[in-house]
Subunit: 120 residues, 2 copies
């Protein structure tokens, strides 16, 4: 699977050849996770509608759910104004986070903002 030339030309990749991918759950609009894509990951995502990323730790393509069964069915992919980030809307099977929580932002409490700190 290769990326269309027109899409490829719109991407502003970082030094590692990656763009950021922000993943939102379609039904709830919850931000599920942030991940990275190289051209192959974006091409595979568009071609298969399965959320597919570049694993920086394993240095390989990673079909979300291939191990856990927690696949993402991709409904929409949008690119941002400067071409370094894509926004995916997905149907998420099971929890999105490898820790077992619904999103990757559920595990920690909120960081305290200044005026909250004063009240604490």
């Amino acid at each position: 699977m290769t990326l269309d030339a027109a899409v490829s030309a719109r991407l502003k990749r970082n030094a590692d050849g990656l763009i950021a991918a922000v993943v939102v759950e379609h039904a709830t609009s919850d931000v599920l996770m942030m991940a990275w894509m190289n051209d192959d990951a974006l091409a595979a995502t568009l071609a298969t509608r399965r959320g597919t990323y570049w694993s920086r730790s394993r240095r390989k393509l990673w079909v979300k759910g291939e191990t856990s069964g927690h696949y993402q069915h991709v409904r929409e992919v949008r690119i941002d104004c400067d071409g370094d980030t894509v926004l995916l809307r997905v149907d998420q099977t099971g929890p999105a986070c490898h820790t077992g929580t619904h999103t990757c932002f559920d595990t920690e409490e909120r960081l305290l903002l200044a005026d909250e700190k004063e009240l604490a």
Copy 2:
């Protein structure tokens, strides 16, 4: 403004000392933009409740809205499971995107998914 040691210890910064910041509009849950923060930007955001980022192009702290007036009042900051991304919920004054659109993902059409392409 310095970052609390407990917060600092939870961050996994990239080679440039940055974490990603995904910014969501509180009222609509729209993803407005993706930006970057160094420790100072996160500390300033928490201390002032104004969305503050690291401009990679200008190599300086950037208070969103300081030029445009399109400030972000920060309601919540969450850190993700592996500490390399924060999720902000904000009240956005005016458009979030420097192009004048509501979000940075509004300027381009959707990327075509495989089965849509076949239909086109």
